[in-house]
């Protein structure tokens, strides 16, 4: 099992959002998270990626196996496309960025500084970063924002070949990606807001 989430509860701004979240993603499989705006997808993914402490529960996966990508792509606008990728490749101990450039059709833009990219091109560069991490589990938050249909399809291809190579993916999205995968609607884990605050001890938070 590549990634197993058990009984996870997450909060944001001191507010419990989701409770008892549990699912498993096997190697070679993807899981699509859905849920209306504000339901806690971003919060959940950050907790799984280890960027935020869950209030309870466990995330089980191999150490250093997760590559996380959110809205902010960690791009430096003064560096060129290939310099940006090369930096992340270096941090993750890789040195070949050409598969990443090809995967998202960035070859022709590789010498362009990142600030001279359009919204969709930036997004592609951000996604290309995933390929240089060499990590098996992708945790993606609305990865196709700003992409047109062609590139959504290209992204789906990249994900499919990642899965075919034994990787796995956890993707929060509002649109249909064209990837064959289970879908999980996280609104079923919504906490009951009318729950009692408890005996007013440490629960005042």
């Amino acid at each position: 099992m590549a990634l197993a989430v058990e009984n996870l509860s997450v909060a944001r701004g001191g507010l419990p959002l989701l409770a008892g979240v549990h699912f498993r993603v096997a190697a070679g499989q993807a899981l699509i998270l859905r849920g209306p705006n504000g339901s806690g997808k971003t919060t959940l993914l950050r907790s799984i990626a280890g960027l935020q402490k869950p209030t309870s529960g466990r995330v089980e996966c191999a150490e250093d196996a997760i590559a996380y990508a959110a809205h902010s792509d960690g791009l430096k606008s003064n560096l060129t496309v290939s310099e940006n990728l090369a930096f992340w490749a270096d941090v993750f101990g890789n040195d070949d960025i050409s598969p990443a450039l090809e995967g998202f059709d960035l070859k022709s833009l590789s010498d362009r500084p990142a600030h001279a990219l359009s919204a969709g091109q930036k997004r592609r560069l951000g996604l290309a970063r995933l390929l240089v991490t060499g990590r098996p589990i992708w945790v993606l938050d609305e990865p196709t924002v700003s992409l047109d249909q062609t590139f959504v399809a290209m992204f789906a291809d990249v994900v499919k070949s990642h899965l075919a190579g034994g990787g796995s993916a956890l993707i929060a999205t509002h649109i249909d990606l064209g990837i064959e995968a289970e879908t999980l609607d996280i609104s079923v884990f919504k906490t009951d807001p009318t729950a009692d605050l408890g005996a007013f001890d440490e629960a005042f938070l």
Binding site: G13, G14, L197, F200, A203, F204, L205
Partner: protein
């Protein structure tokens, strides 16, 4: 006898504070008013400093509190790290403004005192200088609390700042001492307590009794304020939690 940590439970703390507060406040008011009236109206003038000695009843207690409150914050910060009970962090948060005000009182009364004694409001004497630096630490600490939204993050970061700041405060004290040798009185309150004060440099007996009363008054005032302010912080947290829940439903 249960451990004192049981009062780290907010509800228990509030109950304790509610019962203690009136008594502590009363004692603080009695000591403070009594000590100050005694000192102001019923002590003679110093033969050298004239009536300005009366300032000592404010200056010395405030100065002592200023340092001790920082020390208390340091202890509370350590407790937060070790036990992670929110009361510790909140108590440190509640204490900081009191400490800052005490520092200001010490600085102000000192400056006002310095004018007739040294002929200037301010000199860069090590003691005075380190107080100024202490004031900066208080300001930074309070500002950091204000600036961070997530309460848990704020507790952690301010606690770290308090620890690192304490180390640097001690370091600054030595640096400042090295940089300038001072004009200010040595610490003699403690000696005055031990040896009956007789030398003119020491606080003599006539002044000592009301001075100790004022010190006790300031101390009790601090206890009363910290009980009240910590409870306020707890209520604010709980209100925030309730409000958040309400919004969700």
């Amino acid at each position: 006898m249960a451990s004192i940590w049981q009062y780290a439970n907010p509800a228990k703390f509030m109950r304790l504070s509610d019962t203690l507060l009136p008594w502590v406040s009363l004692a603080a008011a009695l000591c403070l008013v009594g000590g100050l009236i005694w000192g102001f109206f019923f002590t003679p003038d110093d033969f050298r400093q004239g009536s300005t000695v009366k300032i000592i009843y404010l200056h010395v207690p405030a100065a002592l509190m200023a340092i001790n409150i920082w020390f208390m914050m340091l202890v509370a910060s350590l407790a937060w790290f070790i036990r992670r009970q929110h009361i510790s962090a909140l108590a440190a948060k509640a204490a900081a403004p009191i400490g800052a005000v005490m520092t200001v009182i010490a600085l102000l009364t000192g400056a006002i005192w310095g004018e007739p004694m040294w002929g200037t409001w301010w000199v860069w004497d090590p003691r005075l200088t380190s107080f100024l630096i202490l004031f900066l630490f208080y300001l930074g600490y309070i500002a950091l609390w204000e600036a961070i939204e997530n309460p848990e993050t704020a507790s952690d970061l301010t606690a770290i700042l308090c620890l690192v700041g304490s180390v640097f405060a001690v370091l600054s004290r030595y640096a400042v001492n090295f940089w300038n040798q001072g004009l200010h009185q040595g610490a003699s309150v403690m000696r005055a307590g031990a040896i009956a004060g007789d030398t003119e440099e020491r606080v003599s007996n006539v002044f000592a009794a009301p001075l100790f009363m004022c010190i006790a008054g300031f101390g009790l005032l601090f206890v009363a304020l910290i009980l009240m302010r910590t409870s306020t912080e707890i209520r604010k947290r709980r209100a925030a939690a309730l409000m958040a829940r309400e919004r969700m439903s």
